[in-house]
Assembly symmetry: D2
Homo-oligomer: 347 residues x 4
Amino acid sequence: MKIKVGIIGVTGYTGGELLRLLINHPHVEIKKATSRSNSGNDVTQVHPHLDKEISLIEDEMDIEKFITGLDVVFLALPHGKSAPLVKEIYNKNVRVIDLGADFRLKNLDEYKAWYEVDHSCPELVSESVYGLPEIYKEKIKEKAIIANPGCYPTSVILGLAPLVAEKIINLDNIVIDSKSGITGAGKTLTQQTHYPDMNDNLLAYKVGSHRHTPEIEQELSILGNTNLKINFTPHLIPMNRGILSTIYTNANIALTNKELEKVYVEYYQDCPFIRLRNKNNLPQTKWVQGSNYCDIAAIFDERTERIIILSTIDNLVKGASGQAIQNMNLMFGLDETAGLKFPGLYP
Amino acid sequence: MKIKVGIIGVTGYTGGELLRLLINHPHVEIKKATSRSNSGNDVTQVHPHLDKEISLIEDEMDIEKFITGLDVVFLALPHGKSAPLVKEIYNKNVRVIDLGADFRLKNLDEYKAWYEVDHSCPELVSESVYGLPEIYKEKIKEKAIIANPGCYPTSVILGLAPLVAEKIINLDNIVIDSKSGITGAGKTLTQQTHYPDMNDNLLAYKVGSHRHTPEIEQELSILGNTNLKINFTPHLIPMNRGILSTIYTNANIALTNKELEKVYVEYYQDCPFIRLRNKNNLPQTKWVQGSNYCDIAAIFDERTERIIILSTIDNLVKGASGQAIQNMNLMFGLDETAGLKFPGLYP
Amino acid sequence: MKIKVGIIGVTGYTGGELLRLLINHPHVEIKKATSRSNSGNDVTQVHPHLDKEISLIEDEMDIEKFITGLDVVFLALPHGKSAPLVKEIYNKNVRVIDLGADFRLKNLDEYKAWYEVDHSCPELVSESVYGLPEIYKEKIKEKAIIANPGCYPTSVILGLAPLVAEKIINLDNIVIDSKSGITGAGKTLTQQTHYPDMNDNLLAYKVGSHRHTPEIEQELSILGNTNLKINFTPHLIPMNRGILSTIYTNANIALTNKELEKVYVEYYQDCPFIRLRNKNNLPQTKWVQGSNYCDIAAIFDERTERIIILSTIDNLVKGASGQAIQNMNLMFGLDETAGLKFPGLYP
Amino acid sequence: MKIKVGIIGVTGYTGGELLRLLINHPHVEIKKATSRSNSGNDVTQVHPHLDKEISLIEDEMDIEKFITGLDVVFLALPHGKSAPLVKEIYNKNVRVIDLGADFRLKNLDEYKAWYEVDHSCPELVSESVYGLPEIYKEKIKEKAIIANPGCYPTSVILGLAPLVAEKIINLDNIVIDSKSGITGAGKTLTQQTHYPDMNDNLLAYKVGSHRHTPEIEQELSILGNTNLKINFTPHLIPMNRGILSTIYTNANIALTNKELEKVYVEYYQDCPFIRLRNKNNLPQTKWVQGSNYCDIAAIFDERTERIIILSTIDNLVKGASGQAIQNMNLMFGLDETAGLKFPGLYP
């Protein structure tokens, strides 16, 4: 029996990526999809690469009707738009995986401070789990609401988790310099992401004010059992997919690169999508393009006694839709890798 | 029982693409691989995106030993290098799919004129078939040697075949303007394909002298039962994958765009990898990126009574490794689409 | 005494390019600029690369006030918007260089057919000259209204002019395959020119229906003293600047490549911005990036007795703002190259 | 009287850029050029964008003959190759601007440790000056040997100098995350900089071991009158030109963004090529493309009490050839901006 899936917000890049990945998922049937802009039309109209792979007319948005007969709904919506829908879906006993931000922050004051809106269903926040399978695998199996992590936080938290959990680094001085391809900025047109303005260009943005900051701080604080603050600076890179986070930390103890590598090997021994790299084999974003892998290298710099971590993902896969499917697999008792075990596209 | 596969010349882009596609092929076991530069090392050393997907130490190149136990060998070698190996493999009753140029031209004088070498085993040319499944499906099932088509010819012949076969166009005046991503030029380093020289740049090359010219002429002449000549101009485009061939022809008869579309629909009705587009939905290379599809639109221009055809493929998939696997499927009595039925990566 | 210049429509790419080029023009003083979106602000707000090079607060749009004290006005506006302004400027005896399309077509029925509007001041069309200095140098010196050519037509007409004028080619069978960088599509946001949709992508558009078609036909017909039709297919290339037009023609006479080159050398002997290339030195768009050069190679293909011409320009310079300044130089009796004699940016 | 200039190592990107910039320099005559690979040929053979702008046959390399009649020589050579030539040129009383690394490090043990060769003329190191005009303007006017700074150090030192000099930051905890376009890796072919391997890709390299590290440490230590160590991580970005250095520091004092900006305004008040940006106007590499500007923004992050600095240059201009010419101007008593006062190319 296949899992019956619906997608709300299917016209964006993450919506298209959900379709691409679910089409060949051995245990899934894509039953329904909808969006504000394309209802009544086939999903291939906005996703022409899926022509001959799927044919699915988008429903009008009537949430009650939409979820009838579904086992799980993926939400790919702007922040603030998910929460009310999650409530309705949850109340009908349908599971929901929210690719948006509404259920990621557990502290609702933080949510309000960073997102500048009140949360519309605070009572459900505790019913949700932060859907990072490498850390919350058991909880994900039990919960009905998954808050799928942000793209930057996925790369950063996976890069730092072993060091924070094992208390190998000083938690007062974490600097995170993240670089993202332009699909991370979404499908909405802006002057900055107009081709001529972005091609052969490079910039930092939202210095000190990106909304993924509290998400990273929340998760690292939990892992480190403290209340830490980080510096996080995102950058736009003239490429389509991929995030590279370069993370600078102070080592608490002197350790060799061998020992450092061992910390990661042990921490991630049961994680099929983590690939460990090293100093002589530094991760490149293209190596994970189109795949659900997260490639990580941690390097001990003897001169400065710092550890520098490099962590790469495809922002649309492990940073969004692939991770959402990994979460779905866990929720439904499937192998975590079902439908996700394929290499990326290179070069 | 799985087909036991070996790959010779595995380090190039088409070699890597064969691995990527065969890893998840349901009826294939990748048994062996070899190359000049990497023997003794794992294939993931030069194809890091395949890490955790495959582990395969490359053999030293001893052809007799190499083919023992194999059902089929893929050759991804420069022209002139395949022919002697094909002979040895053929003589041992192992099937062979040659992604190089050595068996594409049936007229050996043409081969010598364009490739500037004598063919080393002319007696086998008639044992081979030009491996374009949309045209030679039945022959491919019977032959032991497949001459896998060139990337440009694949896009061009598929774009023109219905019109040539149905005698809708004047065969004296075919102009082919092809544009290719840079992986088409291979992995070998050149100044022209050095990143700074190629980025944000655009050029034609080998005007009137590209070796895919006689290949296109041969196949169109067979289809049209004539002896035609074409103009073919290849261009390099600053992108990785994809070919767009823009083809200009004179219509023999006046016909509507509807009628024109019907010619293609009928001609390609049994072809799972052909997707027909039209004037309002012109093909884009990114729509086929990473997939085995060939997207085609033919447009009748009333002002000039010409037909303009646009044909797109991913040069490494339908233009090379995907087509090779499609051929393998046919050779071994499998469904043509086995292991190849997935959408491309977009955007 | 410096020429006092005003720019209307200064916020677009061609507006920014006019500023960039005029800032260092030895005989120009940029007096005024205006636009719909930025009046009251400094031009560097939308052109941050010009910071510290110029400071100029944009005027409100009041045409009478605007032109007071000016010697010449550059118009960089969408078609249909220029004509009424040109009339007012002309009536005040100020010269005007229109970078838009309104005065390019001499046949107003053609204008209406292709642009789908009536011309608002047909009486001034005969007062204007098509501003291609390599062909109309003398007329440009005498006229008060310059219709600055389109980017594609500039590359195409310069590529073909010697052959058409010298009657070396058959005028019934001209195929023009043009490729443009994305600045050619302007600064207006569209899904197609959103970075992720355009990066690593390639497409043809407006097949048989691009508005530069009648402009090319008009000028080639005048040169050839006939009434010809062409096939013109524009393509979008993932790069910022540059046009490459690949032009296919039938030779009327057999001629060597040497002889062919001589035709061009003689025709363009007094043209400082034409650079002739050849078969072994095919033009690349990056070689003209940022400069006012047009690089051309013509090749006789013996196999097919066709001549293939490759013509490259920077669409924002020789295809727009640079050519506009070249026209201004001629209008004011200056050396054609004043302010334009510099190499492009490479790589 | 014009300055008579010679260039050794003219075929690389910085050589081409010297030509591009010197061609229109009002006080320079380019007399001679040479290189290992192109002697006897015109410089436009390897720099086709300079066609019609310059014609200059490259000399054979005979240093004594070469410098005869010259006022200054630019050296654009790999490290270790400059030092012996500098000695010969210096001994003939010709001034020399070395774009390579040989005279940048004052501590020869450091030079040996990082460059793994002995310095071939240690006695001349004290005769040279580190050619960063914003800091060493007066010394540059007096010295005969200029050690032109590295591209990364230029962006980093200019970004930090005011804060280090004014003791506003803690010098123990400086993290520098630099991103460079691919021309920074030079013209030499490598697999990593082959177009398909680099396009749409992103990576860090030489983590903790890049040779620009001691250069940055030397200059910041001098400015801060201390002996500091930094973390420096370079990255390759899929674009041609541009460096963005994102620099993380701990503030010693609380200060507003206004106050912070004032520190920079005062420090750089006499520096024509420094443009100060801010939080709402963050620097982008394309804004400096092709120009000699360095754009800088410094931001005080209240949450973490850190200062984040963003500093952008064109690595081939302010990071190499433009800065070399700025140094030449100072050496010969010209205005610092002679030949360099033009905007970059955008977009």
